[in-house]
Subunit: 376 residues, 3 copies
């Protein structure tokens, strides 16, 4: 029965409910390695990002797709990758994921292939998620004063809510998830924006870190009752990890129970248990293990297992959080398949869950839950 | 040898050192599902609590006890359950647990079967634990002023200490485990109680959240040198999970080393490692994985394994934290048996622990440790 | 291939990059048990530290080295241990570790065998690490005033940097890892030292807990660009565990990226995932699972596995954190071997990693990474 289940998992169509654009550049080794980590530095003692859990996964899983031996060296991989060129690599790897719908968050990587282009390369459908902080930074560049900023953001979020599938916030990066759960008043927001605008220079764009303005964005999105994605846990060097525990936003979650908004907790590592607790207790909370699956490589089944300890099966989602490299889509989807095949396979093999239930829950996690929450 | 061990585990008699009453009502599906989760809401997109880790465990483990196929549907389960009626279901499931002594905490579920009734249905013995905050809320309804409240509580806790096996505190829910470890002065307590009494209305009972009064209760219980159970970690929507890390009460634990009180850390998820650390380092600290085992279903062996990484084998206890549903007793005991059979079974199979040691440690965890701590 | 890998692991030479001295006393049972735990107390209900995860490991792994049956009783073990005497026991167990270089931290256990004596007993090489707080406490006993203290510490750390392999800080114990990341000014340090010196008595040595002075020590060590070890996570009853999460020192880590210093996160339990995150993102951060492996006994493979989820393979180290007992060296090394053999063995068995890569990564973790960071 576990073989039957593994077979079933390998054919599951997927909605990737949180990912980013893919680069169309023919990456050098250095450029590839810089996109294959959450770090911004190289080790002072050398070493390669092919010698990381993700690098091992690329060499094991993607190399054969590019016609190489599994476990080839990083040099061999890059040589073939450069020879094939980005279009072929993107198409081969994206089409090998089994992802049928890409829900692309467009807040970073403006120079990369966008939602439609990714979907076209993959032969799949797409949807869009707007990043609140990016949208607000756009308006901070244009607004005449705080009052104008508020009006612009209200209009922009309204238009975005009508067009996109939902919003994403990176308040975890900018303030921490222990942000004040109170909705700020219009006056507070206007004054905070005025302060930012007075400090604005023509040299570089404003980086929005003001907690009042960010809380305003979040509550404005909540007002529209759409899915609202939050970066949770693990990320790059902008993160203070202990402030990214999702249980630190519990009071905010309590106050949004009846708003119609859905709270999507992304990645969550190493707080997948805390996230699953919130998803069990609060009716509008969902989680995935996105980026964590890619960067923990063949150790990722442990994270997937923990994310499935407490969460009801209608509260878990699939995503890759892929950014830039098609390898992140490919490994993200195949590592996830291996992980759930193992977790559900163990349950079925030990007669703890029926094969039919396992298939039903996998359908929900792969597609059904996301289809319900994101609707169109 | 692992088969021998599994056999041994299946026959272990148990002391359930923390549980609650069982309902005698013939529950509807909706009522059953409401008791089968820590959530207070239903999902806006529908779904059933039979499709959660606990729901899967009920259908796998309890269904055959009620004469159904394992993995039957929730509808089939409820139909049979209603047809059998609560007395038969309670008796069947409780007698199937192997629990020989139920230590029932009576602070919630006044309308449910109490300690003696549960024990009678189960054909077992019982003991009682009094909840400090419930006892104080009773007295807040009756006290004439702060001074009177203090006198009443001192007397009530004294009487309770003479009669019951120990106390339970839900300071984790009401204040967080990062409560001030200082013992409040009598004047501080009297003033805090006076404030609560002035705010008292005839419409609804006082909900005790005042940290000064709760610290007073805890220290008053410590003064009697009895076992003192603390809710730790995972719970319902009243919880701020990050404040329920037991290491946040380290200073309180330090100050009670020599008082004769035992500190019982309950449930602990996802802080079972932190709890086991405290149990290793402090001579009067114990832990269990109670509620966490039930609500993580067939994933619970991972939590049991983590709880046994660092803790000395004389510091770990068994409980179900069952409340309302006899299924919580049944699954709580059988999931725990499966978990320890796997953890100790792996050690024995790999010749890392002798079969005799494994049996000896299991006896301690099942019965011996609780018998020592709770005494009579 | 997994057998080949296990064989390879069993012959790996090791650098133990963080350990302490070994006792030369013929320990009584009570003395042995006191060194076999992080606790300072015995259980009020009795029990033996041979009935803990570490005690089980000693009886399983060390007993045969002393000519006893595996899983013998603690009494049998102590009887043989006392009969053999400390020199024979030290030599047998140390030489059985496969450790080729002992990097000994000398801040505790002045009455024990020092680096050279340990290495001689083991037939191995050694290096030294100086504990910053111990060194400062020495100078606090001698300094005439704050100014003099500062000058003495600057000179002492300079001399130490020229002689030893690096430094260790126990700021986790004394202040918590949430220490202020700012470098204190010379005036602040002088004033803080003056305060300590005014409170100094002739009766007992100063216990350095002043955060300004400790931050000064850390930054002074950073100035020399050497490896700087931090106690992280799990320890004895001086620890407030929640303050020992290494992600709480993220800002300090950010500010030292370009200093040439390497930040070595020791033990890390239960924060091995947080530590591995820091090791992935910051180029100068490394981690091990030292003490955690010993005290979690045969459960330690789970901690090793988690430490290898996110960390690049050039950022992980081996240590035992052994103190006093040669059993801690022996179990620390053999439990680690069993753990990595299992983790890498699973990857190789599932064709997720090539055998050659696994060997290469194991060489790095066992020796290569430490050799690069500690240099000479």
């Amino acid at each position: 029965m576990t073989i039957q289940l593994a077979e079933y998992v390998s054919h599951l169509g997927l909605i990737d409910h949180h990912c980013h654009g893919v680069t169309s550049a023919n990456l050098s080794s250095g450029q590839f390695e810089a996109l294959a980590t959450e770090s911004s530095w190289r080790s002072p003692f050398g070493g390669s990002n092919f010698d990381t859990p993700f690098g091992v996964a690329v060499r094991a899983l993607c190399a054969p797709e590019l016609g190489l031996e599994a476990h080839c060296t990083g040099e061999q991989y890059m040589e073939r990758r450069i020879a094939l060129g980005p279009d072929a690599v993107n198409q081969t790897l994206l089409r090998g994921t089994g992802i049928e719908r890409y829900v692309v968050e467009t807040g970073v990587g403006a120079h990369m292939l966008g939602p439609k282009e990714v979907a076209d390369a993959a032969g799949a459908e797409f949807g869009e998620i707007d990043r609140l902080e990016a949208l607000a930074e756009d308006e901070l560049a244009l607004a005449e004063n705080g009052e104008d900023f508020v009006a612009r953001v209200v209009e922009r979020i309204g238009a975005s809510a009508a067009r996109s599938l939902g919003f994403k916030s990176i308040v975890a990066y900018r303030c921490g998830l222990d942000f004040d759960p109170d909705q700020p008043t219009r006056d507070e927001v206007r004054d905070a924006a005025d302060r930012l605008l007075r400090a604005r220079t023509s040299e570089e764009p404003v980086r929005l870190e003001d907690p009042v303005v960010i809380r305003f964005l979040i509550w404005e999105a909540v007002r529209h009752g759409c899915p609202l994605q939050f970066h949770v846990g693990y990320g790059d060097s902008d993160i203070d990890l202990h402030r990214c525990d999702p249980s630190k936003m519990t009071e905010f979650i309590r106050r949004t129970v009846d708003t119609g908004a859905s709270i999507m907790l992304l990645h969550c590592y190493p707080f997948q248990r805390e996230a699953a607790f919130l998803a069990q207790v609060y009716p509008h909370v969902y989680l995935d293990t996105g980026a964590a699956v890619n960067y923990t490589g063949f150790g990722s089944h442990a994270i997937i297992r923990e994310s499935l300890e407490l969460a009801p099966f209608n509260k878990v989602m699939f995503s890759t959080d892929a950014y830039g490299l098609p390898e992140l889509y490919y490994c993200g989807s195949h590592l996830w398949r291996r992980g759930v095949a193992r977790v559900f396979g163990d349950w079925v093999a030990d007669d703890e869950m029926s094969l039919d239930d396992a298939k039903r829950y996998l359908d929900m996690i792969a597609v059904g839950n996301a289809a319900k929450v994101y609707g169109r």
